[in-house]
């Protein structure tokens, strides 16, 4: 049982999560090509490579700043739909955190805010085959795990990861109604939404990174 994570461990986990998206370039590119224009793998690789580079250079940053910087870097370096939505949401949600350490409830609030921001910025609801279909279930599962475990950050993140992954899988059978994928109904049919998958990869890598 772990109730807090300090900024050093969080930074390592963020670096790991960035790397996970860099490593998923090909998978995400193909998923985006099925439903969109195929740039998402490259876009997030570019954005998260810049984010990782920043995190590696700035050892003194607090957790709130780390998240805000990742958000701003994504907005600057990966300004596609997904990069902008996720980057902006991270920037906004960074305020949930204190600088020195985080606990289970700030983590849950962060995830909820992330989902709220994406929903508001992207004007989407669950079930529309977007990133939100990974983030909203993740936030919900995180809240339940938090309450059940009395605030164990690992349990919270584990639940978020599992729910995001399942949520992403579920997008395979959803019709797209927003974004580029709305034009691709048939071609994308049966394949997982690229943005939802990216969120699941990020959350699960964060979980694994903090578990170490």
């Amino acid at each position: 049982m772990r109730l807090t994570i300090d900024s050093v461990a969080f930074r390592q986990a963020l670096i790991g999560a960035s790397q996970a998206l860099i490593d998923s370039k090909r998978e995400l590119g193909r998923l985006d090509a099925a439903g969109g224009d195929g740039d998402l793998g490259v876009t997030l690789e570019t954005g998260f490579a810049a984010a990782r580079h920043h995190l590696e250079q700035s050892e003194q940053e607090g957790i709130d700043t780390q998240i805000r910087m990742v958000g701003e870097i994504l907005c600057r370096e990966a300004p596609s739909t997904m990069g902008t939505l996720f980057g902006t949401a991270l920037t906004m949600a960074s305020m949930s955190f204190a600088s020195e350490s985080l606990n289970g409830s700030s983590l849950v609030e962060f995830l909820e805010q992330l989902a709220d921001e994406i929903a508001a910025l992207g004007r989407v609801e669950e079930g529309q085959r977007t990133a939100l279909d990974a983030l909203r279930p993740a936030a919900r599962a995180a809240r339940i795990a938090h309450d059940a475990s009395g605030g164990d950050v690992d349990k919270v993140l584990h639940a978020a990861c599992a729910a995001a992954a399942a949520g992403a899988e579920a997008t395979a059978s959803m019709p797209a109604v927003v974004g580029r994928a709305r034009w691709t109904a048939e071609r994308a049919a049966g394949s997982v939404d690229a943005g939802a998958r990216a969120c699941a990869i990020w959350l699960c890598a964060l979980h694994v990174g903090m578990d170490q």
Binding site: A33, G38, D39, V42, P79, T81, T84, R182, W183
Partner: protein, 335 residues
Amino acid sequence: MQKLLNQPGSYVDETLDGILLAHGDILRRVDDEPRAIVRRDAGTRTKVAIVTGGGSGHLPLFLGYVGEGLADGCAVGNLFASPSAQQMLAVMRAVSTGAGVLQLYGNYSGDRLNFDIAARMAGAEGIESTTALGADDVASAPPDSRVDRRGVAGIAFAYKTAGAAAEEGGSLVEVTEIAQRTLTRTRSMGVALAPCVLPTVGEPNFEVEPGFMELGMGIHGEPGVSRGRLKPADSVVDEMWEAVIGDFDDSLKESVAVLVNGLGATPSEELYIMYRRVAQRAEASGLRIVLSHVGEYATSLEMVGASISVLALDDDLERLLRAPARFWPSRFLRT
């Protein structure tokens, strides 16, 4: 990947370097924002400024339309990806002369998100702005969801009319109205015969088997309305023409401007074969083609295919389309 490039990651920046080296008399970079490019004379004469931008890989879109009588500045994204709000803001700052800024670009969610953020940031600095979105692709959504349509080559008309209106001294409201009127009266449809390869991705983002085509495909390979056997050019044009003309409301009177646009690898010979049929169809429908343009106006790297755009003219738009403009992608042997 049969491409002439160095590192895939430097494709966009090296392209821009080349463009600036070749056209430095027309274009310049904004200080500290290498992806923000404006007219050399940007900001020197009080007028409504027109900014544009979007993903790379579509030359002459978007940067090609920066020049006298057209747009004033452009934010340049990575291949098929929006530029950032910061880059757009840098362009807006550099071109703004107090008369307001029109954001004129294609209807894609990444670009919209970022242009909207840039507009808010610019507004906070006292730069007033409006928006006009290219959404001319009839294949991308039915008429009752016109606002959802993607923008393709038809935006070229709006650069010209709005650019001329701004050059004439029109107010922000007037220039915006001209841009929107042009875009509202424009319809396009494309056909793809083979995909392109993003150098950063290294593989085609869709497949069209030899002997097949996809009607209505977008310039990033977004799916179209039907995939089927490749037909003779006249039949292909007929289908596109009917979809485009059939989509118009009563704004379509007698005069039209027409653009037959190559997507990248289709030879101009074939674009003229298509134009021939377009001209025949227009005549048969009692439409008068007042201005015609056959060439590359919005591409997708080396995609094979073409699109047809029609603008239902009125007197204002016809006059503005005929105004002088400096389109650097088609300079020939003259500075």
